[in-house]
Amino acid sequence: MTMIDILLRLHQNSYYFFAIILFIIGFHTMLSHNNLIKKVIGMNIMDTSIFLFFVAIGYVNGGRAPILEPGVPYTAYVNPLPSALILTGIVVAVSVTAYALSLIVKLYKHYGTIDAEEIMRIRGGDIQ
């Protein structure tokens, strides 16, 4: 496989490729930040990458929204199912995010910080 082939493949599968890159970015954000909010943001980036991946499955190059209109001849339609499913996925992600944020608010109330390391340090003080 030559370099050209690889590049060509990457170009053909660019959605998936970027979805994976986005996934890694999200995961890295989750992993490397002590700030809990940033963790949640990383989680959202991860979710977004998966949504991109899923939606890309159903995308047809040059396709249009699958709505029947009288008089318009048949063209390539985009598969609507992944998009519809991802809408649900987004709802789920939103609710998880909201819930996580509310938990962070609670943690902030208890500790006065949203830094995981700080929380750990404070916890160390009153462990028993």
């Binding site: 989750m30 809990l36 963790k39 949640v40 989680m43 991860m46 979710d47 998966i50 991946f53 899923f54 499955i57 992944p82 499913l85 649900t88 996925g89 789920v92 609710s95 998880v96 819930y99 996580a100 938990l103 962070i104 609670k106 943690l107 208890h110 500790y111 929380i119």
Partner: protein, 496 residues
């Protein structure tokens, strides 16, 4: 068409309906919250028992949402495994919440009680939905509702431990759900279907074309469901979450929630992926080794705990290992043992958590070393705890013995006596941390003056007695439940 034909969906929808009614009731008719919750779960129990009867007499059937036939519509598959799981969930769920109506009063603030019932009903609905559904994406939605609701019933007790544990659980399970969704995307990518039946038909045809996609989806499922089911190296959230939550939450989380993910895993492995693939890929061996590690190391962690609920939580890690051991061995008796252990462990672990909760309620201490001599002052919870402990160790005439019996026979069936030995060694390990508690509770001399324990409310005592009699009943007459279990195992293995 009578209403009984719609029991599969009503078992879920009625719970959802009452979950959303609960905030309204809370505002206007506070005293109706408890009966409404009990009534809704009771209805689901009746529905699941009826479904069980129907399936046992006439065989599995499908229920299509909005009369849309698959692959367009979502459908519920009411098979042996599903009715078994539904029955387990509703029975244990009903008993736990009946206990909880009293116990929660002292663990939670009064104004959040209604929310607790909402979350609990949502949790029950999502669990039942997860085991009934025959659609991958629908399963994902139920998984998510289940994750959020189970975090909710942890963090509703507003102590710092609970909130931190819930946050940890939430983030980890969100990552797990991400894996799950990615896996579903992979499957959809190569097959174009989301319905279990259709995916199962399509997978063998595309297996040679896209082997990588299918294998990646398998690994993603394993991690996504593994982290939610607390399979050994992914269990890290469980001890905190299960030990800090209010006792009824711990009971339902340890007893039911992690098992439901195991059931989802069973469904995926046995109903969706082609057996040829499982034969080629080392997935079952991976599950087996993880389960073995879970059994041994979970018990070893439990031995060094001093907090009663934390010990029980670690023991759950070991017990989920039994279920996965049954899944991984792929023989009929082992699968029977694994599925049976879902039921048995649901009963005994919820009983253990509830009796621990009752002991904490009455004495105010969580430390194992403070529990000396409480057998005399608190007979019912202590006897219940001892029964659960005996069942965990696997003493005959308790139900824990039966599942171990089947698991060990299964492991011998496939010619791997090593796993039978693992089961027996883990019984001894369980004995090491459960028996001293029982001995101390009954025969230990309390140190210092013992405060008179608070009297236990009737609800607590009744639910403990119900679960305890279940442990004995299903230990002496396991055929009551084994009928459906063996049918489930046979149908999963394609022997039926």
């Amino acid at each position: 068409m009578s209403i009984v034909n719609h029991f599969p969906v009503l078992a879920v929808v009625v719970l959802l309906l009452f979950a959303y009614l609960m905030p309204l009731l809370m505002r206007w008719r506070k005293e109706w919250c408890v009966p409404a919750t009990l009534g809704a779960i009771g209805f689901s129990l009746i529905a699941s028992l009826y479904m069980m009867w129907q399936v046992m007499t006439t065989g599995p059937f499908m229920y299509q949402m909005g009369s849309w036939a698959p692959p367009w519509g979502i459908e519920f598959s009411i098979d042996y495994l599903a009715v078994f799981a539904t029955m387990t969930i509703t029975i244990v769920g009903l008993i736990v919440i009946y206990y909880g109506t009293q116990d929660l009063l002292h663990e939670l603030k009064e104004q959040v009680m209604g929310w607790y019932y909402t979350l609990y009903l949502l949790l029950m609905a999502s669990m039942i939905g997860m085991v009934l559904t025959n659609d991958l994406f629908n399963m994902f939605v139920f998984v998510e509702i289940c994750a959020i609701a189970s975090c909710g019933i942890i963090s509703i007790k507003e102590s710092r431990e609970c909130i931190e544990a819930a946050f940890k659980y939430l983030v980890l399970s969100a990552v797990g759900s991400g894996c799950l969704l990615l896996a579903i995307a992979m499957i959809y990518m190569v097959t174009g279907h989301l319905n279990f039946t259709y995916v199962a038909q399509a997978l063998p045809q595309v297996m040679d074309l896209y082997p990588l996609n299918i294998l990646v989806s398998l690994a993603l499922f394993l991690v996504g469901l593994g982290v939610k089911a607390a399979l050994f190296p992914l269990h890290v959230w469980l001890p905190d979450a299960h030990s800090s939550a209010p006792s009824p939450s711990s009971a339902v989380l340890s007893g039911l929630v992690i098992k439901v993910y195991a059931i989802a895993m069973i469904k995926l492995l046995y109903k969706v992926y082609p057996p040829e693939l499982l034969g080629m890929a080392p997935i079952m061996n991976m599950i087996l080794w993880m389960a073995t590690l879970a059994i041994i190391i979970g018990s070893m962690f439990a031995i060094v705990q001093d907090d009663i609920k934390k010990m029980l939580a670690y023991s759950s890690i070991a017990q989920i290992g039994y279920v996965f051991l049954g899944v991984g061995l792929m023989s009929e008796s082992a699968l029977q043992g694994g599925i049976l252990h879902i039921f048995n462990h649901a009963i005994m672990k919820s009983m253990l958590f509830l009796s621990a909760g009752a002991i904490i309620y009455a004495t105010g201490t969580r430390k194992l070393s403070d529990l000396k001599g409480i057998g005399i002052t608190l007979p019912v919870p202590t006897i219940a705890f001892s029964l659960g402990a005996f069942a965990m160790v696997g003493i005959p005439i308790t139900n824990g013995f039966i599942s171990k019996w089947y698991l060990a026979l299964g492991s011998l069936d496939v010619g791997r006596p090593f796993f039978a030995a693992v089961i027996l060694v883990s019984s001894l390990l369980n004995g090491i941390y459960y028996l001293p508690i029982v001995v101390n509770a009954f025969f230990g001399e309390p140190e210092g003056a013992v405060a008179e324990p608070r009297p236990l409310p009737r609800q607590m005592v009744v639910s403990l007695i119900l679960l305890g009699s279940g442990v004995i009943l299903f230990g002496v007459f396991p055929s009551l439940i084994l009928g459906v279990v063996s049918k489930a195992a046979q149908s999963l293995l394609g022997l039926l």
